[in-house]
């Protein structure tokens, strides 16, 4: 199965990144791949366990153990990384 190209943005970052992920990969794998472009790169490092992902136009975090396909992600969808509410307050994006 070929890779799914996705748009990925991240809380506190400024850019939309193009990320390709195998359709059978887990959401957790997607988080890891996406976070590696931003966390510790543009925004301060933090444990992956505090990073979640949702669709840009949805509120709910996608289940990390589901496959990307089962989580309803299709090619060229836009997904967004967000963080556990930190001591400094609510997520900014």
């Amino acid at each position: 199965m070929s890779d799914l190209p996705l748009l990925v943005s991240c809380e506190r970052d400024f850019l939309v990144h193009l990320v390709a992920i195998p359709a059978e990969a887990r959401v957790g794998d997607l988080i890891e791949a996406a976070a590696s472009l931003v966390v510790g790169v543009h925004v301060p490092d933090r444990p992956l366990s505090t990073v979640h992902i949702r669709k840009i136009d949805g509120d709910a975090a996608l289940p990390i153990d589901a496959t990307v396909t089962d989580a309803g992600i299709e090619a060229m969808d836009w997904v967004h990384l967000f963080f556990d509410a930190a001591p400094e307050g609510e997520p900014v994006q």
Partner: protein, 500 residues
């Protein structure tokens, strides 16, 4: 013999609206090339160009202008200046010549279209001179860029850029095609001569000329401000047209063309001028911030002229005023991170003193854009320059071809930025780009952004390196950090840095 004054003969001489006998009027002036609104002849008869010039006057004045430009550019002085000018100024010149030289040259086509298909003789006259102007602009700027080749092979991009698939080249071509190469004479006059030339070129050609004078680059300052005196004249093709459109019941059509042309042009200049003014310029030479230039030339001068034409502010004006606080900051950090995808060395422009300046000009900058730069600086100081090199492409706006960015302290607009058209997903920088797309989706839907080309398998191997080669950038042409990361260590001890 006493020569007649121009005004004694001009009206008679320009009256070339003859009645065609070999072909029909519609064949001579097809609506798709001339006037798609089919305005009545009586309306067109009112067209009176406000900045009149005869051919004899034109030649004499242009000769003087060129003499002035080349006189101050003595080879020895120029070489000495360039050797002392530093990487930042070189980058400003490389960016300017790459983005502008052939773009100006290509607008001969637009002026030619108005010269041939304009419905008013005065419009055709002015556009004929405009066409000659654009030949001059292409040639003089290529000449200056060519002279600079001995300082860096990157100056070659003055000539090379628009023939490549470099992302900025794709953006520039798409902008030029939409705003002034692929339009009828009426829309060209509005989008090019009014929105582009009375509005934004002032900032790049006069605002930057001010900064160039401060930086000691008299030749360049003189060159670009001289070019703008041509623009100032031929930009007047649009004003009488807008007035007659408003008067004769075509205000909505004129307004829409202004709204589209202005927005697309704004994005182009935010990238080109905004980043240069606020980040590339050596701090001590800056005369104004980009926002202050925008307030002088656009919010002040252009906005007032627009209203005087009887038009309204574009519907997105409030959003525009907010956007000039942030969008170009995103473009700049994009230039820097993706520096190997451009043909000049990118200064970060965020040393401690520069950050103070940015915070004073854009209150809140440190908490938004500054946070990103802090992290990048930390990585550099930790010896992790590898983390400053992107591992994937940014997604670009389906319409404006620029990386999609947001102020990092503000949320993305999500739904307002996306659209599915005939089964394909399109993503936009903002709801304004989306609106423009929706006005004429067939015009834009088939455009292939760099990302589309990548996904279509045209970039081989499908890697970041593959993309650099696809963009036509050889290793010696690719940009680097203009100051070898010194900015990240400014004010800190001791400096231990790996070279890039």
């Amino acid at each position: 013999m006493t020569l007649l004054q121009r005004s004694d003969w001009y009206d008679v001489a320009r009256d070339t609206n003859w009645t065609p006998s070999f072909v029909s009027e519609a064949d001579l002036f097809p609506p798709e090339m001339s006037d798609p609104f089919d305005m009545p002849k009586a309306a067109w008869a009112e067209y009176d160009e406000p900045y009149k010039v005869s051919y004899a006057e034109y030649v004499k004045v242009q000769r003087e202008k060129d003499a002035g430009v080349y006189a101050v550019n003595t080879a020895a002085a120029r070489t000495r200046f360039m050797e002392e000018a530093g990487q930042r100024w070189h980058s400003i010149l490389k960016l300017h010549f790459g983005a502008v030289s052939l773009a100006e040259s290509s607008s001969q086509i637009s002026e030619g279209r108005m010269a041939r298909f304009g419905m008013a003789p005065g419009m055709r006259n002015m556009a004929t001179f405009g066409l000659l102007d654009e030949i001059r602009h292409g040639q003089t700027q290529l000449y200056f860029a060519h002279e600079s080749l001995k300082h860096s092979p990157q100056f070659n991009f003055a000539h090379k850029l628009l023939g490549t698939q470099e992302w900025g080249a794709i953006m520039t071509r798409a902008t030029l095609d939409d705003v002034f190469l692929g339009r009828d004479a009426v829309t060209t006059a509005i989008m090019l001569t009014f929105a582009f030339e009375t509005g934004f070129t002032n900032m790049q050609f006069i605002g930057l000329a001010g900064d160039a004078a401060e930086a000691g680059d008299t030749s360049f300052s003189n060159l670009i401000s001289s070019i703008q005196t041509d623009e100032s004249r031929h930009a007047q093709i649009g004003a009488p047209l807008l007035k007659l459109m408003v008067k004769n019941g075509y205000k909505d059509e004129a307004q829409k063309a202004v709204d589209i042309g202005f927005w697309r042009t704004y994005r182009f200049f935010a990238l080109l001028t905004g980043t240069v003014i606020d980040y590339f310029m050596p701090l001590e030479k800056r005369t104004s911030s980009f926002k202050e230039f925008m307030e002088e030339w656009i919010v002040g001068q252009f906005e007032r002229t627009l209203l005087d034409m009887g038009l309204d502010l574009p519907w997105y004006w409030d959003f525009f005023l907010e956007d000039i606080e942030s969008f170009h900051h995103g473009m700049h950090i994009g230039w820097w991170l993706y520096r190997d995808t451009v043909w000049f060395n990118v200064p970060a422009g965020v040393s401690p003193a520069e950050r103070d300046w940015l915070e004073s000009k854009y209150p809140g900058w440190n908490d938004s854009w500054g946070r990103l730069w802090s992290q990048i600086g930390e990585n550099i100081r930790a010896g992790r320059t590898d983390l400053t090199v992107p591992k994937t492409l940014p997604v670009v706006c389906s319409f404006n071809n620029l990386p999609m960015v947001t102020d990092p302290s503000k949320p993305w607009a999500g739904k307002d930025q996306m659209l599915t058209y005939k089964g394909k997903k399109y993503y936009f920088q903002s709801h304004v780009e989306k609106w423009v797309f929706e006005q004429d989706p067939e015009r834009y839907a088939a455009h292939q952004t760099l990302i589309d080309q990548f996904l279509a398998g045209r970039i081989q191997p499908p890697t970041y390196e593959g993309a650099l080669n696809y963009m036509g950038l050889s290793p010696v042409e690719r940009g680097k950090d203009a100051e070898n990361f010194a900015w990240a260590f400014a004010g800190r001890e001791p400096r231990t840095m790996a070279a890039e």
